[in-house]
């Protein structure tokens, strides 16, 4: 992605305000729409049914085709976008028509239908207000459900003035009325009408269209010929599965309980020469549906919720964060629908916070698929060698960082923090100061006696896996961890041969290196008998518990070991929370803290209550929740170096919420979040401390 494009979006004040307002309003509206509804059960059903349907997609297509044909529709199965466009052109020409009136169809955006038809002398009119706006502007949708969210009313007024030849003021009700009047003649004169469909049913051959404006019914009613362009993955077996899609779609898309119109259409109704043509688009879907790794991407119901909650989308919008399909799922679908060449850059834009996974209506592991797809991206020259050399040799890794740090010693300011980097790296420090690399990593400071396993009968045995960042930058945090665990009665050992968990390699698409790191760490961490492996970095925990078994799925021997290791690996707060309720309580008051949920803690490991419990009971802290406590801080490991401008903007949102909480301390369970947040607070002159829960516990136990 060209930096200039990203910068342009970051500096687009209207876009930023529009997306921020939406990001704030959406979760509230969504929660209200789902009141009294078990979202997890609903999406569980959708995921299960969609998954089962995709396994028999070719049969579903056959059944739908037979039912729809029996209802009087003509069904055209098209393998490629070109096939679909040509078929549609032929239908229109066959009617002697030259004017197509359309309601919203993302699938026609996928095939770039308008462009093709216009080239062939057919006029196309988009009647969905948002689609009409972007048609007039000659742009692509920047959101699947709200295509013109990036346009302000002044721009719309200008477009409408030009289109209608009359002066339109930037007044929204006026503009909407103007659209009603102007487009009305299109509905009445359009010779052929076109719609998409949100779901199609194989047993009846019917489709359902979910709309708000009422244009869907007009284009499927007034022209005598109706063409419906439908991606084959929209076919479900029966009404039962379709109702779930209709139930979830508006709630997850815009926070509406239901849209103004949900229309069911089966066959060409009324016999006055009406025709219904159903153009089914494959475009790689049948092949993708059969793909064991990426097939689940087609479970998508196109609600756009993954964009609605994405902290990166909130900063740059859909013209950067997507191709034609935008948001998290857009990143996943683009390589399959529009080729890897259109996906390479956008796949790198995901920060990996997994917020999309939490709201996905079809329970797709969107973030996981994005990361897995990076395996297929062309890698920068030398990246593999660099990862292989550095990650596998932690000592060398530290030395290299330390050397780099010493070379920049003149850059250190008061308190040893780095506030500016030399020219080429300076954007990495933008908006935050950076902590120095520690003189000695924790591995060189570990008390000698604890290098040997502690004796039997000294309580449960814990292997401490520190993670690189804590080891190299926050050795005192490692010490706090070890000491506090020992005070809580655990025998703690720090395996010297532990290495990087491999996440930087995995996130950069170097899956072979990630696999090597998984094997290395599995061997190290299983070598010594222990009850638990404890980390202070949830990214490491997630990597060990979730990624290792996935990476080694094809190696039975290592898979068994990976599962054994996963079963005993915990975050610090999870382990310490187990000691709660046994009368152990903080002696004094731990003051007021606000808690930032690390993405990989909350969504990577599913841990939410434990750190709060530890802070309340063992630290004696009063927890004052900040707004969006579980929203990403913008760190994302190497992401903050790759996209410093985006990272900085995401950080600013977090800093604002922290300040607003009024708490003097932010507690986190991740050294990466700590680095990012304390850097941001320091740079903005805030006197707010950032502490890892382990350090707060250690202080409280002193």
């Amino acid at each position: 992605m060209a930096d200039a494009t990203i910068d342009k979006k970051i500096n687009d004040k209207f876009l930023r305000r529009a997306l921020k307002n939406f990001a704030t309003a959406y979760p509230v509206a969504r929660a209200k729409a789902f009141e009294g509804i078990d979202f997890e059960a609903l999406r569980g059903r959708i995921a299960q049914n969609k998954c089962a349907g995709l396994k028999e997609l070719p049969e579903l297509i056959v059944r739908f085709t037979a039912s729809a044909t029996a209802a009087g529709a003509k069904v055209h199965l098209c393998r490629t976008p070109e096939d679909a466009n040509r078929t549609i052109l032929e239908i229109i020409k066959g009617k002697g028509a030259d004017f197509l009136v359309k309601s919203k169809s993302m699938t026609s955006e996928e095939t770039e239908l308008n462009h093709y038809l216009e080239e062939n002398g057919i006029r196309c009119l988009e009647t969905d207000l948002g689609e009409w706006i972007i048609q007039l502007a000659g742009e692509k949708p920047s959101h699947m459900v709200m295509p013109a969210i990036h346009k302000n009313k002044e721009e719309v007024a200008e477009l409408f003035s030009k289109a209608t030849g009359s002066d339109c003021p930037p007044d929204i009700p006026f503009l909407v009325q103007k659209a009603r009047e102007t487009l009305r003649s299109g509905f009445l004169e359009g010779q052929v009408g076109m719609s998409g469909a949100n779901v199609a049913m194989a047993d009846s051959g019917a489709m359902a269209i979910v709309t708000n404006e009422g244009n869907g019914r007009l284009v499927t009613t007034l022209p005598k010929t109706h063409i419906a362009l439908i991606g084959v993955e929209k076919i479900v077996p029966t009404l039962a599965e379709a109702l779930d899609v209709i139930e979830v779609l508006p709630k997850n898309a815009t926070g509406q309980k239901i849209t103004s119109y949900v229309s069911f259409i089966k066959g060409p109704t009324a016999g006055d020469g009406r025709e219904l043509h159903i153009v089914l688009l494959d475009n790689g879907r049948v092949k993708l549906a059969a793909d064991p790794n990426f097939g689940q991407a087609l479970q998508c119901v196109k609600c756009g919720a993954c964009a609605n909650v994405c902290p990166i989308y909130e900063i740059v919008g859909g013209h950067v964060f997507g191709h034609i399909y935008v948001g998290g799922i857009g990143l996943v679908l683009t390589p399959f629908f529009h080729g890897m060449e259109n996906a390479e850059e956008i796949l790198k834009l995901c920060i990996g916070c997994r917020k999309c996974n939490e709201v996905c209506a079809a329970k797709i592991d969107i973030e996981g698929l994005i990361v897995d797809l990076r395996d297929r991206i062309k890698k920068p020259f030398g990246q593999k060698f660099l990862f292989a050399t550095m990650l596998k040799n932690r000592k060398l890794f530290h030395t290299a960082l330390r050397t780099a740090y010493l070379a920049q010693k003149p850059l250190q300011g008061e308190g040893g923090r780095i506030r500016h980097l030399p020219l080429m790296f300076d954007s990495a420090a933008a908006g935050k100061s950076l902590p120095p690399i520690a003189e000695k990593p924790y591995r060189d400071l570990v008390p000698a006696e604890s290098r040997r396993p502690k004796g039997e009968g000294k309580g449960e045995k814990v292997l401490f896996y520190s993670g690189c960042l804590a080891d190299f930058v926050y050795p005192e945090l490692c010490r706090d961890t070890q000491e506090s665990l020992e005070k809580l009665g655990y025998a703690v050992s720090f395996p010297q041969k532990q290495s990087c968990c491999g996440i930087p390699a995995r996130y950069s698409g170097e899956m072979d290196i990630a696999r090597d790191m998984a094997r290395i760490n599995i061997d190290v961490l299983l070598e010594e008998e222990a009850d638990y492996v404890v980390t202070i970095c949830p990214t490491c925990t997630m990597s060990i518990s979730h990624d290792f078994p996935k990476l080694l799925a094809a190696e039975p021997e290592y898979l068994e070991k990976a599962r054994r290791l996963a079963a005993k690996t915990l975050n610090y707060s999870e382990l310490v929370a187990r000691k709660m309720g046994s009368g152990l309580r903080a002696q004094g008051s731990g003051g007021t803290v606000t808690y930032h949920d690390a993405c990989h803690m909350r969504r990577g490991c599913g841990v939410k209550e434990e750190p709060r419990k530890v802070l309340a009971e063992l630290v004696g802290a009063e927890i004052r929740e900040m707004a969006d406590c579980d929203k990403c801080c913008g760190f994302g490991g190497s992401y903050s170096l790759k996209y410093p401008e985006i990272s900085r903007e995401v950080l600013q949102n977090k800093i604002a919420n922290i300040k607003e909480s009024g708490a003097p301390t932010v507690a986190v369970d991740c050294p990466g979040c700590r680095l990012q947040i304390e850097g941001g607070l320091e740079a903005s002159g805030e006197r707010i401390n950032v502490e890892h829960t382990a350090s707060l516990v250690a202080k409280s136990l002193k």
């Binding site: 309003a25 969905d128 019917a206 007009l218 009404l239 109702l243 849209t259 103004s260 229309s263």
Partner: protein, 166 residues
């Protein structure tokens, strides 16, 4: 359940009226039509008669002021109306008129969309073709700056006339 329906429908901008009989409903419809053309869709005979008396204007359906329909059922959770729209002409009428008035028998209100499943299945299986909609509130958009604006292409006003046995 009726109260829940009313609450949901009002939340999305529908106007709710209660009538005990057609003699009460008639004048209300006449006031909505305000002398303009009245179109109808899927009406039982007694309602069709009532409306034909009002269809004074002779303008094309596209210029009608009011369209009168009767719902097959209502959904309490969302304030939605199930309206059969199999006739293309009548369907166009409901979609074009700026005011849409829909009669609803309170006995047909069900809790949620799933409780309508059987009825929807019947409609889908009844003949070779089918077209029906769940209509909820007036036509709306938030496509410009996400500002909710009522009445884009469909009805600007949705009146739900609750009447037993209609």
């Amino acid at each position: 359940m009726v109260n829940k329906f009313i609450q949901s429908a009002e939340a999305v901008g529908a106007t709710i009226k209660h009538f005990s009989g057609l003699d009460e409903a008639g004048p209300y419809l006449a006031s909505l039509a305000n002398g303009g053309t009245v179109t109808t869709s899927s009406l039982p005979p007694q309602l069709a008669t009532l409306c034909s008396g009002m269809a004074s204007g002779s303008a094309a359906p596209a210029d009608a002021t009011l369209c009168v329909s009767r719902a097959e059922a209502g959904i309490a959770a969302t304030g939605s109306l199930l309206i059969d729209l199999k006739s293309a002409e009548e369907r166009g009428a409901t979609a074009l008129a700026p005011i849409h008035a829909v009669f609803l028998d309170p006995a047909t209100i069900v809790p949620d969309i799933y409780s309508l499943g059987e009825r929807i299945q019947q409609l889908l299986s009844a003949g070779d073709q089918a077209y029906f909609s769940l209509t909820t509130g007036p036509s709306r958009t938030a496509d410009i700056e996400r500002v909710l604006t009522i009445g884009v292409h469909g009805a600007k006003e949705l009146h739900i006339l609750i009447m037993e046995g209609v």
